[in-house]
């Protein structure tokens, strides 16, 4: 409810000038309030206030560099505020699928040169912008960054925040920042232990089903930050990323995981600069607090139409599939590929099924080559794509024909995402997708892999 926030912001704007002395300087804050306060030179900050935070960096992907460059060129703006802090990632169309794409690639290289962009990840470098910066120590706990793309919500997995600016990224590039209305925070406490064979994506689909407007939690997730709480040590970076993905599809603007000791150890090992993790205050004000017992969750499949259309895999077992994909910002870490490989090792994908795989980072591709995982995929008959978004970028590469059935780890499965509106796009965790590609129909991965050992 934007206007209500707007009014609150207005009230606060007015109060700042007239009665700032009545503020309690020790007011507890949520993670997003704290991170934005630190970047906005404020001792405290509340949901609804408007600030212009200073980001640690700015990310823009290969599909939109050209339009931002055109906009700024037309205004005569020939320099960026902090080009050394700008990161261009090439993940949407890594393989130029057409002449227009190749032209855009050339324009991206020109823009990076003319602007003097500090971190330009061209074709075959880096990988998926919402995966590789967390793996390689560019995005670290406590950081804040601006992004043109909404899947910047992934930053929450490592305890950072990434805010989507869409085409307004031009203002960030030119001036270094943009206005942000501090989002409200919903706290979600996870309780219990996941059963063997149940992973982050399964839980993420269930969260989306409950969290969405009209869902069982009775909330409106529009422009909210979902902050995870509870005993979260069992969730590694890949599982956290998977959990951060699906809330985005029901319109959450951000997610946040308090970094565990293991996450901090990873961050310290790879950090390319110093960082300070941020944790929410215990008495922080949340718009709502909800909890989810994950011990009763079965492996899930999201039915065509949206991640929130999650059902137990048993309800769709046997559905014949034509097309499968593993990767995307929801399931692009090395551990996701490792999980899929467990269903593929020593097996072949079913005749008539095509399985495409896009690792999240060049780093993962190399690691897969070194440790033999790549061999498992190739020998199973999978088609390996370069690191990046892969098929999930609206099926620009590897789409389906009308009426075909796909099962994938896409970030989302809105009808028509791959082109034909009557194609059926199911989602599952990486093991479910891989096992289904082998069987030629949707299967419960627990019938193929012994997850207890």
């Amino acid at each position: 409810m934007p206007a209500r926030q707007a009014i609150e912001a207005r009230a606060r704007d007015n109060r700042t000038s007239t009665a700032s002395s009545d503020r309690d300087p020790s007011m507890p804050m949520t993670a997003v309030e704290k991170i934005l306060a630190l970047r906005s030179g404020r001792a405290e900050l509340r949901a609804g206030e408007v600030v212009e935070p200073q980001p640690d960096f700015v990310m823009i992907h290969d599909g939109v560099v050209l339009s931002a460059k055109r906009e700024l060129d037309q205004l005569g703006i020939d320099r960026l505020a902090q080009p050394e802090r700008v990161m261009i990632v090439t993940d949407h169309e890594v393989i130029y699928p057409n002449a227009r794409s190749a032209e855009r690639g050339a324009a991206n290289r020109r823009a990076a040169r003319q602007w003097g962009v500090g971190r330009f990840y061209d074709v075959g470098q880096g990988g998926h912008g919402h995966i590789f910066p967390m793996e390689s120590g560019l995005l670290l706990p406590g950081m804040f960054y601006f992004d043109n793309d909404r899947h910047s919500t992934n930053a929450g997995a490592i305890g950072a925040l990434g805010f989507r600016m869409g085409s307004e990224i031009s203002r960030v590039l030119a001036t270094g920042t943009n206005w942000v209305m501090v989002p409200k925070t919903i706290q979600l406490t996870l309780t219990g232990r996941a059963r063997p064979g149940v992973f982050g994506r399964d839980i993420g689909f269930v969260i989306a089903r409950n969290l969405r407007e009209g869902g069982s939690w009775g909330l409106n997730p529009d422009y909210r930050v979902l902050e995870f709480a509870g005993d979260l040590d069992a969730f590694d970076l890949a599982q956290r990323t998977a959990l951060c993905s699906s809330p985005t599809e029901v319109r959450a603007y951000g997610t946040f995981f308090p970094p565990s000791a293991a996450i901090l150890a990873h961050a310290k090992a790879v950090a390319q600069q110093p960082f300070t993790p941020v944790y929410p205050d215990e008495q922080a004000h949340y718009e709502a607090k909800v909890s989810l017992d994950i011990s009763s969750i079965e492996p899930q499949v999201a039915l065509p139409g949206g991640v929130h259309r999650a059902v137990d895999v048993s309800e769709v077992v046997g559905t014949a599939v034509d097309h499968a994909f593993i990767g995307s910002c929801g399931s692009g870490h090395y551990e996701d590929l490792q999980l899929a490989a467990r269903a593929l090792a020593g097996r072949r994908i079913a005749p008539g099924v095509r399985l495409l795989v896009a690792p999240g980072s060049e780093r993962s591709s190399r690691r897969m080559l070194e440790d033999g995982l790549m061999k498992v995929f190739i020998e199973a008959g999978a088609v390996m794509l370069p690191a990046g978004c892969g098929v999930c970028n609206d099926g620009v590469i590897g789409p389906v024909d009308g009426g075909e059935v796909s099962i994938s780890t896409f970030a989302g499965n809105n009808n028509g995402r791959l082109g034909p509106k009557d194609a059926k796009l199911f989602l599952g965790n990486p093991a479910t997708v891989a096992a289904s590609a082998v069987a030629g129909r949707i299967v419960d991965p627990r019938t193929v892999i012994d997850f207890a050992h």
């Binding site: 206007a3 209500r4 205004l75 989507r164 085409s167 030119a174």
Partner: protein, 190 residues
């Protein structure tokens, strides 16, 4: 130029629109409702290109019938989706937008397009019907239906966001900002 002599763009801006109401229903998405999907996926941002297709799927030829000053009055969850294409067209046509509710990123897109917009206007679609003579002050939130002789007060725009609209949206704001930078640069050079 001395910044103090510049007129305040927010005060100088015409926040009041008077025109006919175009009343729409609830839950009209941006993509596939306000504008056809290909406008969004093709990243078409030129208002001249978008205008002929505004509300094409629900009200073909809308752009030939609306007039500057007219006000679109929409129901709940208007403009689902984060993109600003349709709002760029509305702004270029001189229209205003009053909604019962709007997802935040759609609202942000409308502001980024420089559109005079009000949201959280509860019951607005019951306050008028298409063709009524409306007058809306987007600065104060005053909503007057001259046909019915009724008047409502809706939540106004946040003060901190008015400047963006007054300067013509994200692009206009950047133009003004850049001009200011050039002024500073030339002063530094003196």
């Amino acid at each position: 130029m001395n910044a103090n002599t510049k007129p305040d763009p927010v005060k100088a801006y015409d926040w009041r629109l008077r025109g006919r109401a175009w009343v729409l229903g609830h839950e009209i998405p941006h993509q596939g409702g306000v504008v056809p999907g290909w406008i969004v996926t093709g990243r078409h941002m030129d208002p001249a290109e978008i205008i002929p297709h505004l509300f094409e799927e629900t009200d073909p030829g809308f752009h030939t019938r609306c007039r500057p000053g007219d006000i679109i009055v929409a129901g709940r969850s208007f403009g689902m989706g984060p993109k600003m294409n349709g709002y760029l067209a509305m702004q270029a046509l001189g229209l205003g937008l009053v909604c019962e509710s709007m997802p935040f990123l759609g609202y942000r897109g409308a502001i980024g397009a420089g559109l005079r917009v009000l949201t959280d206007c509860q019951g607005a679609t019951d306050e008028c019907e298409t063709g009524d003579e409306l007058e809306v002050d987007f600065d104060s939130g005053m909503f007057i239906n001259h046909t019915r002789g009724t008047r409502r007060e809706y939540p106004p725009l946040a003060d901190s966001l008015k400047e963006i609209i007054a300067l013509g949206g994200n692009t206009g704001w950047l133009r003004q900002w850049w001009a200011g930078q050039q002024d500073e640069g030339s002063r530094d050079g003196d």
